[in-house]
Amino acid sequence: MKAAKGTVFKYGDNVDTDVIIPARYLNSSDPAELAAHCMEDIDKEFIHKVSAGDIIVAMKNFGCGSSREHAPIAIKAAGVSCVIAETFARIFYRNAINIGLPIIECPEAAADIQAGDTVEVNFDTGVITDVTKGTTYQGQAFPEFMQKIIAAEGLVNYINQRK
């Protein structure tokens, strides 16, 4: 898998799927349309500032709440290359893997990394590097089973390949 590198947007605990993509926009399932409202209720500036490759770093229970796959879809379509958090809510975790949005749990990195830092993530090793600070962190590598889904770029391809 390739690595991710970008500028960090930093958030706190319990970032829920309602602020990631408010339900008033769920009458659409078009990724570009969803991306245009990504993070709108927590950070109105996000969508104007985000560039392809940027990274979201948050604290505990990122993606809690609704099962809407629209949340990781919006984040991915906004150009975000990776989400790092102390912990993820479980449905968001599954959804991100299933649609091929790389996510990684690392409490130390989540605590230290600040907004605006440049961060690099190596998906093969799980190593997270804060280029701005010159620090490195060992993130939790995916179990083999999930690596296969990610390598297939999502659950749909994984199922197709197994046929």
Binding site: D16, N95, V156, I159
Partner: protein
């Protein structure tokens, strides 16, 4: 080392004698559920798969309930997509407006969920069916697509927290107060990735509707599922609603739990979750400030069942909602609506100055039918009070039981029935 209730159900559906927490398994599914928000995305994903059709047209339930009757053109297109898919694949359990209800109230009522089942649904509150002794959990649209195509899903076997319930709840204390109390105690990620297993002799003092409410909000503590043991009440509910065979799984005596809590139901008080997290709970006695409100919503997959309607009506009978306050009552299914009509509850609501809506998830997620303006406050029997959940980012939601919601509608501020004149 023994297995929990959840682990036993998962082992049986994976064809294994034994599973352990952390193990990755592939389980056979008894039911795959989707709604009008999540199914269109799942249908799009399924179209990309090299499959001929669905794994079993009788084991898929499609329930347009979030934005129906269609709130706008885009919602109408989503519903049309689901309707056409259901028709194309001859899905037995597609529920059109007129026969639909809020999915998690509807499926048990239709007998589609029974003890021992493994159920996934592309809606986070799919955990509701744990009230019947099933393993059920929320997933996203891609998992739903894979489930519809293959009849299987992968799971990491969860560890569990045991909640031993004792005693009997006092008057005006319901399942909603029990689960809000628990979430307040362990936090919104207190059960992250875990099962919440409810046991103890206090269970018999909880109605089926109370149990549905409690299991429904397991996700609000981060739980993978919430599950109750099967007792006489469960069996009589299943016999009344379903002709499907059910299987009772009991936890082994030496099952291992990460944590155990004992909760004496008789000590619980009406409980309210303050903005903007379900864990920000206070008992009614701890609320010292005056909190004027603009709206009350009584309904949802959490509290739109007949018990909830009866409680709300008991409070509203002979009273009127406060001047200038909107009170929106939403029976969760057509059957609940009809029952409430036959029992005269709808008349009580209308005479009290409340409006009664057709079943919809609408206001709970800020879709329609009760959106809040800037600065407005709502007491709601729904399940989430996140920032902007019901409308403007500067609005506020207070989660409570139907009893507290109805009393607050009358008073125009947060209160409980025992304090009404």
């Amino acid at each position: 080392m023994g297995m929990t209730m959840t682990q036993k159900i998962l082992a049986a559906h994976a064809g294994l004698d034994k599973v352990e927490a952390g193990q990755l398994i592939e389980a056979d599914l008894d039911l795959v559920l989707g709604n009008d928000i999540t199914s269109p995305v799942a249908i799009k994903e399924m179209d990309k798969m090299n499959v001929d059709g669905v794994f079993d047209k009788d084991k898929i339930a499609l329930v347009p309930d979030h934005f129906v009757p269609n709130k706008d053109i885009k919602s109408a297109e989503h519903c049309k997509c689901v309707r056409e898919f259901a028709h194309r694949h001859e899905i037995t359990n597609y529920f059109e407006v007129g026969e639909m209800g809020i999915e998690h109230a509807l499926l048990p009522e239709k007998g589609l969920t029974v003890a021992g089942d493994v159920i996934i649904g592309a809606d986070s509150h799919t955990c509701t069916y744990g009230a019947l002794g099933a393993f059920s959990t929320g997933v996203g649209s891609t998992d739903m697509a894979a489930g519809m195509a293959t009849g299987k899903a992968w799971f990491k076997v969860p560890s569990a927290i045991r909640f031993r319930l004792t005693g009997k709840p006092a008057e005006w204390v319901s399942g909603k107060d029990v689960i809000l109390h628990i979430i307040g105690m362990i936090g919104v990620d207190g059960a992250l990735y875990k099962s919440m297993e409810f046991t103890g002799d206090g269970v018999k003092n909880l109605s089926m509707d109370d149990r549905f409410t409690i299991a429904n909000m397991a996700i609000e503590a981060g739980g993978k599922n919430g599950i109750f043991p099967v007792d006489e009440l469960t069996v009589s509910y299943m016999k009344e609603h379903s002709d499907r065979p059910y299987t009772v799984y009991e936890a082994d005596e030496d099952a291992v739990y990460d944590e155990e809590y004992t909760i004496d139901l008789s000590t619980l008080r009406p409980t309210v979750a303050f903005p903007h997290l379900p864990e920000n709970t206070k008992t009614i006695d701890e609320i010292t400030e005056d909190i004027p409100i603009d709206q009350v919503v009584i309904g949802s997959c959490t509290n739109g069942r007949i018990d909830d309607m009866r409680t709300a009506a008991k409070v509203l009978q002979g009273r009127h909602v406060a001047k200038g306050l909107r009170c929106i009552v939403i029976p969760a299914t057509q059957a609940v609506y009809l029952q409430a009509m036959e029992e005269g509850l709808l008349k009580i609501f209308v005479e009290a100055g409340a409006v009664v809506s057709t079943p919809t998830c609408g206001p709970c997620l800020g879709g329609y039918m009760g959106i809040l303006a800037q600065g407005e406050r709502c007491v709601s029997t729904t399940n989430r009070n996140f920032v902007g959940r019901m409308g403007h980012v500067d609005s506020e939601i207070y989660l409570a039981s139907p009893a507290v919601a109805a009393a607050s509608a009358v008073a125009g501020r947060i209160t409980c029935p025992c304090r009404l004149k």
